[in-house]
């Protein structure tokens, strides 16, 4: 008899604990509430059963047997309610539910009278077994009715559910229910004098572990982890307690001789404390490992998976490889039926062929995750939706995720930005995703986000550098074409100038020829006046000839076709010659041209004498043109392996702005046009080009306007 009391007590405690766990896990969820109520009624029944068993008088026994009926009356209907909640069939079976509550409430009221439990009498070794009242019989009928009803519903649901987690959940609930009820039924036998003791009570006890198993393995009501932890905890408590008891016993036998003093207690405690301090962690780990092995066989090690993936990802930059690696590893470790990694940046979702509907669903999912960062477990949102606690955005996705056959969606976020998604299908074993799974996946997700971003950036960079290269090539080609065009234009221009010059020369020669002949008197005498004017014509023509020559020289220099006959040249000789040749022209203008001879003969330079002659002539001409009074002084010096030619005049000088543009084409000092209209504007440009072609340098110095100027050029010594 004590056996039944103990069994009842155990039932009571386990029901209470189970009920509390479930209810506290999610107070608001209606499923949890319903299960809590069921456990409450089961506890009430069990506690009362215990007290009934240990009652030592009839009144006590009667009182407690009525008490246990209190629980028993509601067990069935609460369980019925729970199962309806679980499978969301409340609306469907509302009538049955309401009827059930009404009828059992009626029996509840009847329990306060003697119409329900008539009294107690000894049966089969039990001192005080309740006798059924008149209303007990209909109660039993309804009890059976609803028990069978529930089992029928469970069967139906089991057959309707094709696969997956739900099917497993139902299976275990079904088993537990049958076991529980079958055991429970054995209670009623003695009520009707059938001489069979309620041996089934202990199977009722099994109901709890079976449901617990369903919860653990199939995440029913999601208190798996809690139960795991509490198993470890209770194991630890039991172990430490056992140690203490054993140690106390040992000490009392050996040291203290069965005497329990304060001293002996303290010493025992000390001993156990020391033992515990050392042994706690290994013990804990052992419990953890054992529970893991028994309860979670065949699971992967999440930390290893995370480390493994991190390792591999850090070495890959290719986007496709990243995706494949992730899919492989995660699918392999979690033993998934299907997994997909979605990359956001790729409009085509990595080029996989997807129908437009699927793409829409993906877009919806992506839109959801732009703002959310928590993973989405399909079972959970379905449960929340069924419990109707409060509306959540995720409910919109339930249908879509089912279409995608996706049970878990993990967002890959990098600094608040959505980079991709993990879409996980169901596990091959039908298990639900555990919290460990989810935590591991979240860690992997953040690593994956980084890896994907890197791979994407790398691809973009490759693309970019390809595009850049293409653009550079294009521009280079353009430049080359433009360059060729320019060269062609340049050549055409040079040819044109050459041709033009050539064509211009002929008429110029003719004019020169005939005028000179007339001036010589070949065709007869000419008057002084005629001679005068004809000379002016001749001079004008000479200017034209010079211009043509200059133009030709410029065109040749610019196209690099000017030829230089480089020979050793004595600049001092050349200069002296030119100066003496120019004296008559200078004298006509009432100016002077002095030449300061160098003290000793100068080293020779390598130059084309004709060209240098042209430069010197040009400089002398310039000086004279722009000098009204006084004259010019020419000087030659040798310094630092260079010969420096200088001509200083007392002319109108040059401003600093003019200095800058003096050696450019067609430039003349501002205001020059007012004084002298001769000169082509090409002289200094040509002189500069010729000097530079000889690797020399040409420049001008002038204090300011009105104070004369000095032109210099230098040539390197041979």
């Amino acid at each position: 008899m004590i056996f039944y009391a103990i069994v009842a007590l155990i039932n009571a405690i386990t029901s209470t604990i189970l009920g509390l766990f479930v209810y506290l896990k999610n107070r608001k969820a209606k499923t949890n509430q319903a299960f809590g109520l069921f456990c409450l009624s089961a506890s009430v029944w069990s506690y009362a059963y215990y007290f009934w068993q240990i009652a030592d008088n009839a009144d006590g026994a009667l009182f407690w047997s009525r008490g246990l009926m209190m629980g028993a009356i509601f067990i069935n209907i609460f369980y019925f309610h729970f199962v309806l909640r679980l499978f969301n069939k409340i609306q469907e079976r509302k009538k049955s539910l309401i009827f059930g509550y009404l009828i059992f409430f009626f029996f509840f009221l009847a329990n306060f009278t003697s119409l329900f439990v008539k009294g107690v009498s000894p049966k089969l070794g039990f001192s005080f077994w309740p006798d059924p009242g008149i209303l007990y019989h209909p109660f039993l009928f309804f009890w059976f009715f609803y028990a069978i009803y529930v089992i029928y519903l469970l069967f139906k649901e089991y057959h309707l559910t094709t696969a997956g987690i739900k099917r497993n959940q139902i299976r275990y609930i079904l088993i537990g229910t049958i076991v529980g009820y079958a055991g429970g039924i054995t209670n009623y036998l003695l009520w009707y004098d059938i001489p069979i003791a309620p041996i089934g009570n202990w199977t009722a006890m099994l109901y709890v572990p079976i449901i617990a198993y369903a919860i653990l393995k199939y995440r029913l009501m999601d208190i798996r982890f809690v139960i795991k932890r509490s198993t470890i905890f209770s194991g630890m408590v039991a172990a430490i307690m056992a140690t203490y008891v054993l140690a106390a016993l040992l000490f009392s036998w050996t040291v203290f001789g069965d005497v329990y003093t304060f001293k002996s207690q303290v010493l025992t405690g000390l001993f156990v404390a020391v033992l515990t301090s050392f042994g706690f962690i290994p013990l804990y780990n052992w419990f953890k490992k054992t529970t893991d092995t028994f309860l979670f066989k065949g699971e992967y090690n999440p930390q290893e998976l995370v480390a493994d993936i991190a390792d591999v990802l850090s070495q890959i930059l290719d986007l496709n490889k990243v995706v494949n690696t992730l899919e492989e590893k995660i699918s392999g470790a979690l033993k998934l039926n299907r997994i997909e990694v979605i990359i956001l940046k790729d409009e085509d979702f990595l080029g996989q062929k997807k129908g437009p509907k699927i793409k829409d669903i993906l877009r919806k999912t992506i839109a959801y995750f732009e703002k959310e960062k928590e993973v989405l477990v399909l079972e959970e949102i379905k449960r929340k939706h069924a419990d109707k606690i409060k509306f959540d955005k995720s409910f919109n996705l339930i249908e879509d995720l089912e279409k995608l056959k996706t049970n878990l969606v993990v967002p890959l976020k990098l600094k608040e930005k959505l980079v991709g998604l993990f879409l996980l299908g169901s596990k091959k074993s039908g298990d639900m995703f555990t919290n460990n799974d989810i935590r591991a996946l979240e860690t992997i997700a953040s690593q994956a986000a980084v890896a994907i971003e890197n791979a994407w950036l790398y691809e973009e960079m490759k693309d970019f550098s390809k595009t850049l290269q293409k653009e550079v090539d294009r521009q280079t080609k353009k430049l080359k074409t433009a360059n060729i065009r320019l060269k062609q234009l340049d050549e055409a221009k040079s040819e044109f100038i050459s041709l033009a010059s050539h064509q211009l020369r002929t008429p110029l020669s003719i004019i020169k020829g005939y005028i000179s002949m007339i001036l010589e008197g070949v065709w007869g005498k000419t008057s002084a006046d005629q001679k005068n004017y004809l000379e002016k014509v001749y001079l004008s023509n000479e200017r034209l000839i010079n211009l043509v020559e200059d133009l030709l020289a410029v065109s040749r220099i610019e196209s690099g076709r000017l030829e230089f006959d480089l020979q050793p040249l004595a600049l001092d000789e050349l200069t002296e010659n030119i100066v003496s040749e120019s004296q008559s022209m200078i004298a006509k203008k009432k100016l002077y041209l002095k030449y300061i001879k160098p003290k000793k003969p100068l080293s020779k330079v390598v130059a084309d004498s004709l060209k240098i002659r042209q430069v010197i002539q040009n400089l002398i001409d310039n000086s004279i043109y722009y000098t009204k009074n006084g004259g010019a002084t020419v000087c030659l010096k040798e310094k630092n392996k260079k010969i420096i030619f200088s001509i200083q005049d007392t002319g109108i000088g040059i401003s600093s702005e003019e200095k800058n543009i003096l050696f450019e084409k067609f430039s003349r000092g501002k205001g020059m046009s007012k004084i002298h209209t001769e000169g082509t504007g090409l002289g200094l440009y040509l002189a500069a080009k010729l000097i530079e072609a000889h690797k020399g340098r040409i420049w001008v110095e002038s204090e300011e306007k009105g104070k004369g100027s000095t032109f210099y050029f230098e040539l390197p010594v041979e």
């Binding site: 050539h502 020369r505 002929t506 020669s509 003719i510 020829g513 000179s516 002949m517 070949v522 000839i545």
Partner: protein
Amino acid sequence: MKKKKGKILIIEDERLLLDMYESYFKKTGYEVFGAKNGRPGIKIAKKEKLDLIITDIVMPDMDGYELIKEIKENAETKKIPILIFSNLSQRSEIKKGLALGADYYIIKTSLTPAELMAKVKEILNK
């Protein structure tokens, strides 16, 4: 009539220039033959006993260079001194002409006819 100072052939494709030189040389007392380009020029050279050939370079049909070559290859004419009178003033062009066998090179625009005449006298007096 004064004795002719010498027989000169002037080959020049520009009509105006040719006229000018011809008339000038004639006035100065030379016997002058004119040709518009190389081919008639060679014919004259072969026919007459010339003292000097003055030729331009840039001419249609047969240019000065070809003419010089032909003159120098022909036994009858190769002894006649040739004076190139051209506007081509590049060093290379001058060298080419002289290398082919011309004896002198003068650039047209730098000389008046009188100056040309002086040069011719110099050559013929040699």
